[in-house]
Protein backbone atom coordinates (compact mmCIF):
# COMPACT_ATOMS: atom_id res chain seq x y z
CA UNK A 1 0.00 0.00 0.00
CA UNK A 2 1.22 3.50 -0.84
CA UNK A 3 0.63 6.82 0.90
CA UNK A 4 -2.89 7.47 -0.47
CA UNK A 5 -4.42 4.12 0.51
CA UNK A 6 -2.61 4.16 3.89
CA UNK A 7 -4.16 7.56 4.55
CA UNK A 8 -7.62 6.26 3.61
CA UNK A 9 -7.26 3.20 5.87
CA UNK A 10 -6.05 5.35 8.75
CA UNK A 11 -8.86 7.84 8.25
CA UNK A 12 -11.54 5.14 8.08
CA UNK A 13 -10.22 3.56 11.27
CA UNK A 14 -10.04 6.86 13.15
CA UNK A 15 -12.80 8.15 15.38
CA UNK A 16 -11.96 11.86 14.99
CA UNK A 17 -12.53 12.08 11.23
CA UNK A 18 -10.35 15.15 10.82
CA UNK A 19 -7.77 15.85 8.12
CA UNK A 20 -4.62 17.92 8.41
CA UNK A 21 -3.59 19.53 5.13
CA UNK A 22 -0.47 21.60 4.48
CA UNK A 23 -0.23 24.29 1.81
CA UNK A 24 3.53 24.40 1.35
CA UNK A 25 3.73 26.89 -1.51
CA UNK A 26 1.45 29.04 -3.60
CA UNK A 27 4.05 29.21 -6.35
CA UNK A 28 6.68 26.49 -6.24
CA UNK A 29 10.02 27.46 -7.70
CA UNK A 30 10.67 30.75 -5.88
CA UNK A 31 11.87 29.09 -2.66
CA UNK A 32 10.02 27.28 0.17
CA UNK A 33 10.68 28.91 3.58
CA UNK A 34 12.39 26.11 5.50
CA UNK A 35 11.50 26.79 9.13
CA UNK A 36 7.75 26.88 8.46
CA UNK A 37 7.93 23.78 6.25
CA UNK A 38 9.76 21.88 9.00
CA UNK A 39 7.13 23.02 11.50
CA UNK A 40 4.44 21.76 9.13
CA UNK A 41 6.11 18.33 8.85
CA UNK A 42 6.30 18.15 12.65
CA UNK A 43 2.47 18.42 12.73
CA UNK A 44 2.34 15.08 10.85
CA UNK A 45 -0.09 16.33 8.18
CA UNK A 46 -2.23 13.91 6.12
CA UNK A 47 -1.11 15.57 2.89
CA UNK A 48 1.25 18.20 1.51
CA UNK A 49 0.27 20.34 -1.45
CA UNK A 50 1.86 22.97 -3.65
CA UNK A 51 0.69 25.02 -6.59
CA UNK A 52 3.21 25.63 -9.32
CA UNK A 53 1.47 27.80 -11.90
CA UNK A 54 -0.81 30.65 -12.86
CA UNK A 55 -1.84 32.83 -15.79
CA UNK A 56 -0.49 35.85 -13.87
CA UNK A 57 2.91 35.38 -15.47
CA UNK A 58 1.47 36.18 -18.89
CA UNK A 59 1.09 34.21 -22.11
CA UNK A 60 4.76 33.69 -22.99
CA UNK A 61 5.37 30.69 -20.74
CA UNK A 62 2.25 28.83 -21.85
CA UNK A 63 3.13 29.61 -25.45
CA UNK A 64 6.82 28.74 -25.39
CA UNK A 65 6.68 25.74 -23.06
CA UNK A 66 9.32 27.30 -20.78
CA UNK A 67 9.09 27.55 -16.99
CA UNK A 68 8.84 30.97 -15.36
CA UNK A 69 10.96 29.88 -12.40
CA UNK A 70 14.66 29.06 -12.51
CA UNK A 71 15.44 25.36 -13.03
CA UNK A 72 17.85 25.32 -10.07
CA UNK A 73 15.38 26.78 -7.58
CA UNK A 74 12.50 24.72 -8.95
CA UNK A 75 14.49 21.52 -8.55
CA UNK A 76 15.50 22.52 -5.04
CA UNK A 77 11.88 23.23 -4.03
CA UNK A 78 10.62 19.98 -5.55
CA UNK A 79 13.39 18.05 -3.80
CA UNK A 80 12.49 19.59 -0.44
CA UNK A 81 8.81 18.73 -0.81
CA UNK A 82 9.50 15.19 -2.05
CA UNK A 83 11.93 14.49 0.78
CA UNK A 84 9.52 15.95 3.35
CA UNK A 85 6.48 14.06 2.12
CA UNK A 86 8.32 10.76 1.81
CA UNK A 87 9.83 11.17 5.29
CA UNK A 88 6.34 11.23 6.85
CA UNK A 89 4.77 8.98 4.17
CA UNK A 90 2.07 11.55 3.30
CA UNK A 91 0.74 12.10 -0.22
CA UNK A 92 2.32 15.04 -2.05
CA UNK A 93 0.12 16.80 -4.61
CA UNK A 94 1.50 19.40 -7.03
CA UNK A 95 -0.70 21.27 -9.52
CA UNK A 96 -0.05 23.34 -12.66
CA UNK A 97 3.41 21.83 -13.15
CA UNK A 98 6.14 23.95 -14.63
CA UNK A 99 4.29 27.34 -14.49
CA UNK A 100 1.67 26.80 -17.20
CA UNK A 101 0.89 23.07 -17.06
CA UNK A 102 1.06 22.15 -20.76
CA UNK A 103 2.87 19.01 -21.96
CA UNK A 104 6.38 20.53 -22.07
CA UNK A 105 6.00 22.08 -18.60
CA UNK A 106 4.70 18.84 -17.12
CA UNK A 107 7.38 16.72 -18.80
CA UNK A 108 10.17 19.03 -17.60
CA UNK A 109 8.78 18.82 -14.07
CA UNK A 110 8.52 15.01 -14.25
CA UNK A 111 12.10 14.79 -15.49
CA UNK A 112 13.17 16.80 -12.43
CA UNK A 113 11.14 14.53 -10.12
CA UNK A 114 12.74 11.37 -11.58
CA UNK A 115 16.17 12.94 -11.35
CA UNK A 116 15.64 13.95 -7.72
CA UNK A 117 14.38 10.44 -6.87
CA UNK A 118 17.52 8.89 -8.37
CA UNK A 119 19.84 11.37 -6.64
CA UNK A 120 18.14 11.13 -3.23
CA UNK A 121 17.39 7.40 -3.30
CA UNK A 122 13.59 7.87 -3.14
CA UNK A 123 11.10 5.24 -4.29
CA UNK A 124 7.43 6.11 -4.78
CA UNK A 125 4.38 5.76 -6.97
CA UNK A 126 3.93 8.83 -9.16
CA UNK A 127 0.55 9.51 -10.73
CA UNK A 128 0.43 12.13 -13.47
CA UNK A 129 -2.58 14.11 -14.70
CA UNK A 130 -2.30 15.55 -18.21
CA UNK A 131 -4.19 18.74 -19.10
CA UNK A 132 -3.50 19.28 -22.79
CA UNK A 133 -6.70 19.68 -24.79
CA UNK A 134 -6.45 18.63 -28.46
CA UNK A 135 -7.42 21.45 -30.83
CA UNK A 136 -9.89 19.06 -32.49
CA UNK A 137 -11.70 18.55 -29.16
CA UNK A 138 -12.09 22.28 -28.70
CA UNK A 139 -13.12 22.73 -32.34
CA UNK A 140 -15.83 20.09 -31.90
CA UNK A 141 -17.09 21.91 -28.81
CA UNK A 142 -17.26 25.15 -30.84
CA UNK A 143 -19.37 23.40 -33.50
CA UNK A 144 -21.75 22.21 -30.77
CA UNK A 145 -21.99 25.71 -29.26
CA UNK A 146 -20.39 24.54 -26.01
CA UNK A 147 -17.69 27.23 -25.68
CA UNK A 148 -18.27 30.74 -24.39
CA UNK A 149 -16.12 33.84 -24.02
CA UNK A 150 -15.29 35.20 -20.57
CA UNK A 151 -14.28 38.76 -21.47
CA UNK A 152 -12.43 40.80 -24.05
CA UNK A 153 -11.36 37.88 -26.23
CA UNK A 154 -13.54 37.29 -29.28
CA UNK A 155 -15.86 34.30 -29.51
CA UNK A 156 -13.92 31.08 -29.67
CA UNK A 157 -13.27 29.54 -33.07
CA UNK A 158 -11.73 26.33 -34.32
CA UNK A 159 -9.05 28.53 -35.89
CA UNK A 160 -8.13 29.97 -32.47
CA UNK A 161 -7.75 26.45 -31.09
CA UNK A 162 -5.38 25.52 -33.92
CA UNK A 163 -3.42 28.78 -33.62
CA UNK A 164 -2.67 28.21 -29.93
CA UNK A 165 0.90 27.00 -29.51
CA UNK A 166 -0.35 25.12 -26.42
CA UNK A 167 -3.96 24.61 -25.38
CA UNK A 168 -4.71 23.39 -21.86
CA UNK A 169 -7.75 22.89 -19.67
CA UNK A 170 -7.83 23.44 -15.92
CA UNK A 171 -8.20 20.02 -14.26
CA UNK A 172 -10.53 20.12 -11.27
CA UNK A 173 -10.99 18.11 -8.10
CA UNK A 174 -12.48 15.27 -10.17
CA UNK A 175 -9.14 14.54 -11.87
CA UNK A 176 -7.22 14.50 -8.57
CA UNK A 177 -9.81 12.15 -7.00
CA UNK A 178 -9.36 9.79 -9.95
CA UNK A 179 -5.59 9.98 -9.46
CA UNK A 180 -5.99 9.09 -5.76
CA UNK A 181 -7.74 5.86 -6.77
CA UNK A 182 -4.41 4.67 -8.22
CA UNK A 183 -2.89 4.75 -4.70
CA UNK A 184 -0.13 7.29 -5.41
CA UNK A 185 2.54 8.66 -3.12
CA UNK A 186 2.93 11.68 -5.37
CA UNK A 187 0.53 13.34 -7.82
CA UNK A 188 1.86 15.83 -10.35
CA UNK A 189 -0.76 17.55 -12.49
CA UNK A 190 -0.54 19.68 -15.60
CA UNK A 191 -2.70 22.82 -15.61
CA UNK A 192 -5.13 22.49 -12.72
CA UNK A 193 -7.49 24.49 -10.54
CA UNK A 194 -5.47 25.37 -7.44
CA UNK A 195 -8.41 24.17 -5.33
CA UNK A 196 -8.21 20.63 -6.74
CA UNK A 197 -4.85 20.09 -5.07
CA UNK A 198 -6.38 20.41 -1.59
CA UNK A 199 -10.08 19.57 -2.05
CA UNK A 200 -9.42 16.17 -3.66
CA UNK A 201 -8.40 14.14 -0.60
CA UNK A 202 -11.31 15.47 1.51
CA UNK A 203 -13.83 14.72 -1.24
CA UNK A 204 -12.28 11.30 -1.87
CA UNK A 205 -12.76 10.53 1.83
CA UNK A 206 -16.39 11.68 1.81
CA UNK A 207 -16.25 15.32 2.95
CA UNK A 208 -18.78 17.74 1.47
CA UNK A 209 -17.35 19.95 -1.31
CA UNK A 210 -18.38 23.23 0.36
CA UNK A 211 -15.93 23.39 3.28
CA UNK A 212 -13.29 21.43 1.35
CA UNK A 213 -13.33 23.90 -1.55
CA UNK A 214 -13.38 26.97 0.70
CA UNK A 215 -10.43 25.57 2.67
CA UNK A 216 -8.62 24.69 -0.57
CA UNK A 217 -9.01 28.20 -2.00
CA UNK A 218 -7.35 29.66 1.09
CA UNK A 219 -4.47 27.24 1.71
CA UNK A 220 -3.39 27.20 -1.94
CA UNK A 221 -1.82 30.61 -1.30
CA UNK A 222 0.11 29.31 1.74
CA UNK A 223 0.19 31.99 4.48
CA UNK A 224 -1.02 34.84 2.24
CA UNK A 225 -4.33 34.87 4.18
CA UNK A 226 -2.49 35.96 7.35
CA UNK A 227 -1.29 39.26 8.86
CA UNK A 228 1.34 39.89 7.82
CA UNK A 229 0.76 37.81 4.67
CA UNK A 230 3.62 35.62 3.53
CA UNK A 231 4.78 32.54 1.70
CA UNK A 232 5.29 30.22 4.68
CA UNK A 233 3.50 26.86 4.91
CA UNK A 234 -0.01 26.89 6.36
CA UNK A 235 -1.88 24.11 8.15
CA UNK A 236 -5.62 23.52 7.70
CA UNK A 237 -7.45 21.10 9.97
CA UNK A 238 -10.71 20.03 8.34
CA UNK A 239 -13.66 18.39 10.08
CA UNK A 240 -17.27 17.75 9.02
CA UNK A 241 -18.44 21.22 10.06
CA UNK A 242 -15.59 23.44 8.89
CA UNK A 243 -11.87 24.03 9.17
CA UNK A 244 -9.21 25.76 11.23
CA UNK A 245 -6.22 27.66 9.83
CA UNK A 246 -2.80 28.19 11.34
CA UNK A 247 0.34 29.60 9.73
CA UNK A 248 3.45 27.53 10.35
CA UNK A 249 5.36 30.77 10.89
CA UNK A 250 4.60 31.98 14.45
CA UNK A 251 5.02 35.60 13.31
CA UNK A 252 1.95 35.31 11.05
CA UNK A 253 -1.63 35.31 12.33
CA UNK A 254 -4.72 33.94 10.57
CA UNK A 255 -7.37 36.33 11.94
CA UNK A 256 -11.09 36.30 11.07
CA UNK A 257 -10.59 39.56 9.15
CA UNK A 258 -7.45 38.48 7.29
CA UNK A 259 -8.97 35.13 6.28
CA UNK A 260 -12.26 36.70 5.16
CA UNK A 261 -10.35 39.35 3.21
CA UNK A 262 -8.45 36.64 1.34
CA UNK A 263 -11.67 35.88 -0.59
CA UNK A 264 -11.03 39.15 -2.42
CA UNK A 265 -7.58 38.20 -3.66
CA UNK A 266 -7.38 37.90 -7.45
CA UNK A 267 -11.08 36.99 -7.54
CA UNK A 268 -13.68 38.91 -9.52
CA UNK A 269 -16.38 38.16 -6.90
CA UNK A 270 -15.51 37.52 -3.25
CA UNK A 271 -18.76 35.64 -2.64
CA UNK A 272 -18.19 32.70 -4.94
CA UNK A 273 -15.47 30.27 -6.01
CA UNK A 274 -16.29 28.89 -9.44
CA UNK A 275 -15.16 25.30 -10.00
CA UNK A 276 -15.61 22.85 -12.90
CA UNK A 277 -18.27 20.86 -11.00
CA UNK A 278 -20.11 23.73 -9.30
CA UNK A 279 -19.84 26.94 -7.33
CA UNK A 280 -18.72 27.26 -3.72
CA UNK A 281 -20.73 30.12 -2.18
CA UNK A 282 -18.82 31.74 0.66
CA UNK A 283 -21.24 34.64 1.27
CA UNK A 284 -22.69 32.65 4.19
CA UNK A 285 -19.27 31.78 5.67
CA UNK A 286 -18.50 32.67 9.29
CA UNK A 287 -15.02 33.37 10.64
CA UNK A 288 -14.20 33.02 14.33
CA UNK A 289 -10.94 33.46 16.23
CA UNK A 290 -9.73 30.38 18.13
CA UNK A 291 -6.89 32.44 19.61
CA UNK A 292 -4.79 35.34 18.34
CA UNK A 293 -3.19 33.31 15.52
CA UNK A 294 -5.81 30.73 14.51
CA UNK A 295 -9.22 31.11 12.88
CA UNK A 296 -12.09 28.69 12.41
CA UNK A 297 -14.25 28.89 9.26
CA UNK A 298 -17.71 27.41 8.71
CA UNK A 299 -20.81 27.98 6.64
CA UNK A 300 -19.87 27.87 2.92
CA UNK A 301 -22.43 26.28 0.57
CA UNK A 302 -21.97 24.19 -2.58
CA UNK A 303 -24.16 24.62 -5.67
CA UNK A 304 -23.50 21.85 -8.20
CA UNK A 305 -23.24 22.86 -11.87
CA UNK A 306 -25.94 21.61 -14.22
CA UNK A 307 -23.17 20.55 -16.59
CA UNK A 308 -19.45 20.59 -15.78
CA UNK A 309 -17.20 23.17 -17.44
CA UNK A 310 -13.50 23.32 -18.27
CA UNK A 311 -11.59 26.58 -18.40
CA UNK A 312 -9.46 26.56 -21.57
CA UNK A 313 -6.20 28.54 -21.88
CA UNK A 314 -4.19 29.00 -25.04
CA UNK A 315 -1.38 31.25 -26.22
CA UNK A 316 -0.68 32.22 -29.82
CA UNK A 317 2.77 32.95 -31.25
CA UNK A 318 3.21 36.52 -32.51
CA UNK A 319 6.87 36.73 -33.49
CA UNK A 320 10.22 37.58 -31.93
CA UNK A 321 10.64 40.48 -29.54
CA UNK A 322 13.54 42.93 -29.23
CA UNK A 323 13.69 45.94 -26.94
CA UNK A 324 15.52 49.26 -26.74
CA UNK A 325 16.36 50.84 -23.38
CA UNK A 326 17.01 54.58 -23.25
CA UNK A 327 16.49 57.56 -20.96
CA UNK A 328 16.34 61.29 -21.39
CA UNK A 329 16.58 64.33 -19.14
CA UNK A 330 16.55 67.01 -21.86
CA UNK A 331 13.49 69.26 -21.34
CA UNK A 332 13.21 70.22 -25.01
CA UNK A 333 13.28 66.55 -26.09
CA UNK A 334 10.83 65.51 -23.35
CA UNK A 335 8.48 68.36 -24.17
CA UNK A 336 7.67 66.93 -27.62
CA UNK A 337 8.47 63.28 -26.87
CA UNK A 338 5.36 61.83 -28.52
CA UNK A 339 6.05 63.68 -31.78
CA UNK A 340 9.74 62.76 -31.62
CA UNK A 341 8.95 59.07 -31.25
CA UNK A 342 6.38 59.12 -34.05
CA UNK A 343 8.78 60.93 -36.38
CA UNK A 344 11.60 58.48 -35.64
CA UNK A 345 9.27 55.50 -36.16
CA UNK A 346 8.38 56.93 -39.59
CA UNK A 347 12.03 57.46 -40.50
CA UNK A 348 12.91 53.91 -39.42
CA UNK A 349 10.05 52.46 -41.46
CA UNK A 350 11.47 54.15 -44.55
CA UNK A 351 14.93 52.78 -43.79
CA UNK A 352 14.15 49.14 -43.00
CA UNK A 353 11.24 48.56 -45.41
CA UNK A 354 11.27 48.59 -49.20
CA UNK A 355 9.26 51.48 -50.70
CA UNK A 356 5.55 50.67 -50.88
CA UNK A 357 5.90 47.55 -48.74
CA UNK A 358 3.98 47.47 -45.46
CA UNK A 359 6.13 46.85 -42.37
CA UNK A 360 6.42 43.22 -41.30
CA UNK A 361 6.92 44.31 -37.69
CA UNK A 362 5.22 46.26 -34.92
CA UNK A 363 7.21 48.98 -33.17
CA UNK A 364 5.90 50.87 -30.16
CA UNK A 365 7.15 52.84 -27.18
CA UNK A 366 6.33 53.04 -23.52
CA UNK A 367 7.41 56.36 -22.01
CA UNK A 368 8.00 55.94 -18.27
CA UNK A 369 7.48 59.18 -16.40
CA UNK A 370 4.53 60.03 -18.63
CA UNK A 371 2.04 57.26 -19.35
CA UNK A 372 3.79 53.88 -19.63
CA UNK A 373 2.07 52.28 -16.63
CA UNK A 374 -1.37 53.88 -16.87
CA UNK A 375 -3.04 55.47 -19.93
CA UNK A 376 -3.55 58.88 -18.30
CA UNK A 377 -5.96 60.95 -20.38
CA UNK A 378 -4.07 64.23 -19.74
CA UNK A 379 -0.43 65.28 -19.75
CA UNK A 380 1.07 66.03 -16.30
CA UNK A 381 0.92 69.65 -15.09
CA UNK A 382 4.70 69.72 -14.68
CA UNK A 383 6.80 67.77 -17.19
CA UNK A 384 8.92 65.02 -15.60
CA UNK A 385 12.59 65.81 -14.99
CA UNK A 386 13.59 62.50 -16.62
CA UNK A 387 11.85 59.87 -18.72
CA UNK A 388 12.63 56.31 -19.60
CA UNK A 389 11.82 55.05 -23.08
CA UNK A 390 11.20 51.36 -23.64
CA UNK A 391 11.07 50.65 -27.34
CA UNK A 392 9.59 47.29 -28.29
CA UNK A 393 9.55 45.55 -31.65
CA UNK A 394 7.81 42.29 -32.56
CA UNK A 395 9.00 40.96 -35.92
CA UNK A 396 9.08 37.67 -37.83
CA UNK A 397 12.66 36.87 -36.76
CA UNK A 398 15.04 37.79 -33.96
CA UNK A 399 17.42 39.36 -36.48
CA UNK A 400 14.65 41.46 -37.98
CA UNK A 401 13.40 42.66 -34.57
CA UNK A 402 16.94 43.60 -33.54
CA UNK A 403 17.59 45.38 -36.85
CA UNK A 404 14.50 47.55 -36.31
CA UNK A 405 15.40 48.56 -32.74
CA UNK A 406 19.05 49.19 -33.70
CA UNK A 407 18.03 51.68 -36.39
CA UNK A 408 15.50 53.15 -33.97
CA UNK A 409 18.23 53.67 -31.39
CA UNK A 410 20.50 55.50 -33.77
CA UNK A 411 17.83 57.76 -35.26
CA UNK A 412 16.32 58.54 -31.86
CA UNK A 413 19.78 59.53 -30.59
CA UNK A 414 20.28 61.97 -33.44
CA UNK A 415 16.73 63.03 -34.25
CA UNK A 416 16.72 66.71 -35.21
CA UNK A 417 13.58 68.35 -33.84
CA UNK A 418 12.53 72.02 -33.65
CA UNK A 419 14.22 73.78 -30.74
CA UNK A 420 16.89 71.12 -30.24
CA UNK A 421 19.93 72.26 -28.23
CA UNK A 422 21.64 68.92 -27.53
CA UNK A 423 22.89 68.26 -31.03
CA UNK A 424 25.24 65.45 -30.03
CA UNK A 425 22.50 63.15 -28.68
CA UNK A 426 18.94 63.11 -27.32
CA UNK A 427 19.08 60.02 -25.14
CA UNK A 428 21.23 58.29 -22.51
CA UNK A 429 21.95 54.56 -22.63
CA UNK A 430 22.33 52.74 -19.31
CA UNK A 431 24.77 50.32 -20.97
CA UNK A 432 25.56 49.02 -24.42
CA UNK A 433 24.18 47.33 -26.34
CA UNK A 434 20.92 49.04 -25.36
CA UNK A 435 19.12 46.76 -27.82
CA UNK A 436 18.28 43.31 -26.42
CA UNK A 437 16.58 40.23 -27.81
CA UNK A 438 13.70 39.28 -25.53
CA UNK A 439 12.75 35.96 -27.12
CA UNK A 440 9.44 34.86 -28.62
CA UNK A 441 6.28 36.91 -28.03
CA UNK A 442 2.83 35.42 -27.45
CA UNK A 443 -0.65 36.57 -26.54
CA UNK A 444 -3.49 34.77 -24.81
CA UNK A 445 -5.86 33.89 -27.64
CA UNK A 446 -7.90 31.36 -25.66
CA UNK A 447 -9.40 31.94 -22.23
CA UNK A 448 -12.84 30.43 -22.65
CA UNK A 449 -15.22 28.11 -20.87
CA UNK A 450 -16.06 24.74 -22.46
CA UNK A 451 -19.11 22.79 -21.28
CA UNK A 452 -18.68 19.01 -21.27
CA UNK A 453 -20.74 15.95 -20.35
CA UNK A 454 -17.89 14.26 -18.55
CA UNK A 455 -14.67 15.78 -17.21
CA UNK A 456 -12.68 12.54 -16.94
CA UNK A 457 -11.77 11.89 -20.61
CA UNK A 458 -10.14 15.33 -20.87
CA UNK A 459 -7.61 14.74 -18.09
CA UNK A 460 -5.99 11.31 -18.60
CA UNK A 461 -3.83 9.88 -15.84
CA UNK A 462 -0.62 7.85 -16.00
CA UNK A 463 0.94 5.80 -13.21
CA UNK A 464 4.68 5.30 -12.85
CA UNK A 465 6.45 3.37 -10.09
CA UNK A 466 9.78 5.07 -9.44
CA UNK A 467 12.39 2.77 -7.90
CA UNK A 468 15.61 4.33 -6.71
Amino acid sequence: MNAAFKLRARFQASAAKTLKLVGASGQLGYGVPEAAFEAALACRPDMIGADMGSTDIGPTFLGSGAMATSPEQTRKDLARLLAGARAIDAPLIVGSAGSAGAGPHLDATLAMVRDIAAAEGLSFRLTVIRSDIPAATAAEAVRDGRVRSMGVLPEFTAEAAHKAAHLVGQAGTEAFVRALETDPDVIIAGRACDTGIYAAIPEWLGFEPAAATHMAKIVECASLCCVPGGRDSILATLDRAGFELESMNPARAATPMSVAAHSLYEQGDPHQIIEPAGVCMVDTARYAALDDRRTRVEGARWVPAERPTIKLEGAEYLGERAVLLAGSADPRFIDRIKANLEEVADVVRGLVCEPGVAPDYELFFRTYGLDAVFPWPNAPETPPREIFILGECIAPSQERALAVVKSTKQYLLHHGFPGRLSTSGNIAFPFTPPELSAGPAYRFNVYHLMTVDDLAPHFPIEVEDIRA
Partner: protein, 100 residues
Protein backbone atom coordinates in the same frame (compact mmCIF):
# COMPACT_ATOMS: atom_id res chain seq x y z
CA UNK B 1 -10.88 63.66 1.96
CA UNK B 2 -9.22 61.44 -0.61
CA UNK B 3 -9.67 57.67 -0.77
CA UNK B 4 -5.94 57.19 -0.06
CA UNK B 5 -6.37 59.04 3.25
CA UNK B 6 -9.29 56.87 4.34
CA UNK B 7 -8.79 53.32 3.05
CA UNK B 8 -6.45 50.78 4.64
CA UNK B 9 -5.86 48.97 1.32
CA UNK B 10 -6.38 50.13 -2.27
CA UNK B 11 -5.07 47.57 -4.73
CA UNK B 12 -5.54 46.14 -8.22
CA UNK B 13 -4.67 42.79 -9.78
CA UNK B 14 -5.74 40.53 -12.61
CA UNK B 15 -8.63 38.22 -11.88
CA UNK B 16 -7.66 35.90 -14.72
CA UNK B 17 -6.04 37.45 -17.81
CA UNK B 18 -9.23 39.16 -19.00
CA UNK B 19 -10.37 41.06 -15.91
CA UNK B 20 -8.93 43.65 -13.55
CA UNK B 21 -10.14 43.59 -9.99
CA UNK B 22 -9.84 46.31 -7.32
CA UNK B 23 -10.03 45.79 -3.57
CA UNK B 24 -10.68 48.75 -1.31
CA UNK B 25 -10.56 47.84 2.37
CA UNK B 26 -11.37 50.00 5.37
CA UNK B 27 -10.31 49.98 9.01
CA UNK B 28 -13.67 50.74 10.62
CA UNK B 29 -17.40 50.34 9.96
CA UNK B 30 -17.69 54.13 9.73
CA UNK B 31 -14.95 54.40 7.10
CA UNK B 32 -16.52 51.52 5.16
CA UNK B 33 -19.88 53.32 5.21
CA UNK B 34 -18.17 56.45 3.80
CA UNK B 35 -16.62 54.36 1.06
CA UNK B 36 -19.93 52.70 0.20
CA UNK B 37 -21.61 56.10 -0.09
CA UNK B 38 -18.85 57.66 -2.23
CA UNK B 39 -20.11 58.56 -5.73
CA UNK B 40 -16.57 57.98 -7.09
CA UNK B 41 -16.82 54.27 -6.27
CA UNK B 42 -20.13 53.70 -8.08
CA UNK B 43 -20.18 51.83 -11.40
CA UNK B 44 -20.80 55.00 -13.46
CA UNK B 45 -17.81 56.85 -12.01
CA UNK B 46 -15.49 53.83 -12.32
CA UNK B 47 -16.66 53.38 -15.89
CA UNK B 48 -15.61 56.96 -16.75
CA UNK B 49 -12.29 56.68 -14.91
CA UNK B 50 -11.25 53.49 -16.69
CA UNK B 51 -12.97 53.97 -20.04
CA UNK B 52 -15.17 50.87 -19.90
CA UNK B 53 -18.94 50.77 -20.24
CA UNK B 54 -20.83 51.00 -16.94
CA UNK B 55 -22.71 47.75 -17.51
CA UNK B 56 -19.36 45.90 -17.52
CA UNK B 57 -18.35 47.31 -14.12
CA UNK B 58 -19.30 45.23 -11.10
CA UNK B 59 -19.22 46.83 -7.66
CA UNK B 60 -19.68 44.31 -4.86
CA UNK B 61 -19.82 45.32 -1.20
CA UNK B 62 -18.12 42.72 1.01
CA UNK B 63 -19.03 43.69 4.58
CA UNK B 64 -17.34 40.63 6.12
CA UNK B 65 -13.97 42.25 5.37
CA UNK B 66 -15.16 45.90 5.37
CA UNK B 67 -14.25 45.94 1.70
CA UNK B 68 -15.57 47.04 -1.67
CA UNK B 69 -14.73 44.86 -4.66
CA UNK B 70 -14.75 46.37 -8.14
CA UNK B 71 -14.14 44.30 -11.25
CA UNK B 72 -13.80 45.58 -14.83
CA UNK B 73 -12.79 43.96 -18.13
CA UNK B 74 -9.22 44.59 -19.27
CA UNK B 75 -8.72 46.60 -22.44
CA UNK B 76 -6.82 43.59 -23.78
CA UNK B 77 -5.75 40.22 -22.42
CA UNK B 78 -2.85 40.40 -19.96
CA UNK B 79 0.59 40.25 -21.55
CA UNK B 80 -0.61 41.12 -25.05
CA UNK B 81 1.71 43.20 -27.27
CA UNK B 82 0.75 46.66 -26.01
CA UNK B 83 -0.19 45.78 -22.45
CA UNK B 84 1.21 48.15 -19.82
CA UNK B 85 0.83 46.07 -16.70
CA UNK B 86 0.91 42.29 -17.12
CA UNK B 87 -0.10 41.52 -13.51
CA UNK B 88 -2.43 44.52 -13.28
CA UNK B 89 -0.94 45.52 -9.94
CA UNK B 90 -0.60 49.27 -10.71
CA UNK B 91 -4.01 50.05 -12.16
CA UNK B 92 -5.43 51.16 -8.81
CA UNK B 93 -3.61 54.51 -8.90
CA UNK B 94 -6.43 56.68 -10.34
CA UNK B 95 -8.60 55.58 -7.39
CA UNK B 96 -6.17 56.94 -4.81
CA UNK B 97 -7.02 60.58 -5.37
CA UNK B 98 -10.82 60.14 -5.47
CA UNK B 99 -12.50 62.82 -3.35
CA UNK B 100 -15.00 61.25 -0.97
Amino acid sequence: MRLMDLARVVRSKNAGPLNLTFDIMFETEADYALGLAAPGLKAEAVSALYGVSANRVSVIPYPTALAIKITIPRAEAAGGPRDRDVYGAQQHVPLLGLEL
